[in-house]
């Protein structure tokens, strides 16, 4: 019995190019108040294009209808639980959207005079301060555009520090449970990657680590809590092992929402970390971006932060471009400011105590789900869960049903799937993160769905294997998409030519 959802009518809609009719328009420009300039005369005939071939031509209302209809084909956190482990899909408060659109902030040009940018600079200063307090680190940069961009920034700083000490070293250690961005980042900074095997409890093995930390190791990139949702309880010792050999510790803060107010990386020995503001601090994911990847560092790394740096001068805030040891810019301007406003608004709404309570609520929700699901799914590791819990499909695989199939069946029950097949160290992983913003009602419905699917696997595995059954779009052919990639629309005639 599926009680969370029922069927309703969904509109079909062609691509915008197929809706086009010549001459239709959805815009109105003001009348030109200066003499018109002839493009050919101003730019030269060969610099002027004839037309943008096949560009859309539709009315304003058609634009609205088109995108409104497309939107109804999406699932969203606004519609229900979105238990994607490691992605922290929580409620995005709408006041944050309102304040990010405040005229004087949204329309601030990055090069407008500093004395007319003091409000924007205060937003940055206030958020840097708050994140420093939350992480227990000494300084914060808000320049990186996303988590992976933050990793890149952090590893560049580690390299710069080691070079200043006499040698960059050659290797970065990455636990086998890590996100794929970690090894990819290390490569972009000119390091080779050595994987560290996790032990049978899902955490870093101290002996294995100690053997791996040689004089050519620059840093360890560690996620804590790690990707199986378990706190690396030896984190202090881990940091000690690295530091004893002159190496540094990078913490991937993708799971910082399990620690805010409860533990601070700066206090337990981390040298540099990034925060995904679009996860822990609730800025909306927007279908895949924008995010923001703040990076927090210990004192020893501050000279290497990307420039410019915000500085308090006698008559207000100013940008300091004189950063001789800086790794340089990682992007133009100062960061994803619009995202920073939202993150700051989230922190202001919660306050210190509220942030800690949010963490405890996230832990409560994850452990509640774990308890309800453990009789039906194989928990990957016995260690206590923090903000997410990871199961394996061991029991269901015996019936030929894998984690990906269970995920698809969840859709029929009105839920977005959990994270499938990650982390790689768990065979057939189901990674579930409910976040703190879900009610008991929603959690119970989700657990009910999961338990019902476990029963279906026993009684009628075919039902699960062929899911989803109720969506507008059934399973899609990803193999053909990859074999014969079609990544843009072409008019019918051109498309058939291209296929020849």
């Amino acid at each position: 019995m599926i009680n969370k959802v029922s069927k309703h009518i969904v509109q079909n809609e062609p691509l915008i190019f197929e809706r086009t009719s010549p001459g239709k328009r959805g815009y109105q420009l003001p009348e030109l108040d200066v003499p018109p300039v002839d493009p050919v005369q101003a730019l030269g005939a060969k610099n002027v294009r004839s037309e943008i071939e096949d560009f859309p031509e539709v009315s304003e209302f058609e634009v609205l209808r088109h995108f409104s209809r497309l939107s109804t084909w999406n699932y969203a956190i606004d519609l229900g639980l979105y238990p994607l482990g490691s992605c922290t899909m929580k409620y995005n408060p709408r006041v944050n959207e309102v304040v990010a659109r405040t005229e004087g902030l949204a329309w601030a040009h990055p090069y407008q005079p500093e004395h007319l940018s003091q409000g924007a600079m205060q937003v940055i200063a206030a958020l840097e301060h708050a994140l420093g307090e939350i992480t227990g680190m000494d300084a914060v940069t808000l320049q990186p555009a996303a988590g992976a961009h933050g990793e890149f920034t952090g590893i560049l700083m580690i390299r710069a520090l080691l070079e200043s000490r006499g040698g960059a070293r050659s290797k970065i250690l990455v636990p086998d449970s890590a996100h794929g961005t970690n090894p990819a980042t290390a490569m972009m900074v000119g390091y080779s990657v050595e994987n560290i095997k996790s032990n049978d409890r899902g955490v870093v093995d101290l002996e294995v680590l100690a053997r791996a930390v040689t004089d050519d190791v620059a840093a360890l990139m560690i996620t804590n809590p790690n990707t199986v949702g378990v706190f690396e309880e030896n984190i202090r010792k881990i940091c000690g092992i690295l530091h004893d050999k002159g190496a540094l510790v990078y913490m991937d803060g993708a799971n910082m929402n399990a620690l805010v107010g409860v533990a601070r990386p700066g206090d337990f020995g981390v040298d540099v970390m990034h925060l995904n503001l679009h996860k822990t601090f609730s800025t909306p994911h927007g279908g895949g971006g924008p995010g923001a990847g703040a990076v927090a560092v210990a004192q020893v790394l501050t000279p290497f932060l990307p420039g410019p740096r915000l500085r308090r001068a006698a008559n207000g805030w100013t940008w300091n471009y004189d950063c001789p040891q800086s790794i340089g810019r990682v992007r133009a301007f100062y960061g994803n400011f619009g995202v920073l406003i939202r993150a700051l608004a989230y922190i202001l709404a919660h306050g210190g105590n509220g942030l800690r309570q949010a963490t405890l609520d996230a832990l409560l929700n994850a452990n509640y789900l774990r308890t309800l699901l453990e009789p039906h799914y194989q928990i990957a590791y016995e260690a206590p869960s923090m903000h997410e819990c990871v199961f394996s499909d061991d029991r269901q695989a015996k019936k030929g049903v894998r984690t990906g199939d269970i995920a698809k069946r969840l859709i029929d029950y009105g839920f977005h799937p959990y994270t499938v097949s990650f982390p790689l160290i768990v065979r057939g992983a189901l990674m579930i993160e409910p976040t703190e913003t879900e009610s008991k009602l929603e959690l119970d419905q989700f657990a009910g769905a999961m338990i019902s699917i476990a029963k279906e696997v026993e009684d009628n595995p075919e039902l699960v294997l062929k899911a989803p059954h109720s969506t507008r779009t059934p399973r899609v052919d990803e193999v053909t998409a990859a074999r014969k990639p079609v990544v843009r629309w072409r008019p019918a005639a051109a498309a058939s030519q291209a296929a020849d």
Partner: protein, 128 residues
């Protein structure tokens, strides 16, 4: 699954067929089955030097990439053009039309003959 007797096989699931100084290299039926639907094959340009035991290309399914290792050293004479347009052939005929590269070998032929026979390989994949 049947494995041609005239081929030699590696632990990384490549086969090699020797013809004088030339060798044809492909992946085995077992390998294609494990990979699932193959969507892309990345092969070296003719003229590239390949080294025994080192990777010379890769095979992709929708959600995985597998390196392919050279069973012999030598210079690439030809890469199989068929696979750039029709990677699915590698699922259909891995021991025949869907060979990967032809190499002018620099290895000692005796080294090649020391690789697994069809029978040994079949035992090897049975045991894996």
């Amino acid at each position: 699954m049947s494995y041609p007797e005239t081929y030699r096989y590696t632990k990384e699931h490549e086969w090699v067929h020797l013809d004088g100084n030339h060798a044809t290299v492909g992946i085995t039926e077992h390998a294609q089955h494990e990979l699932g639907d193959i969507v892309f094959v990345d092969l070296p340009q003719p003229g590239t030097q390949v080294t025994k035991g080192h990777t010379f290309g890769s095979v992709e399914s929708v959600k995985a990439v597998s390196d392919i290792y050279a069973p012999v050293s030598g210079q690439v004479l030809e890469s199989n053009e068929l696979l750039s347009k029709s990677p699915e052939k590698l699922n259909e005929d891995p021991h025949g039309d869907a060979w990967l590269i032809k190499i002018s070998i620099a290895s000692d032929p005796a080294e090649i003959n020391a690789l697994m026979s069809a029978g040994d390989y079949q035992k090897y994949v049975g045991a894996e």
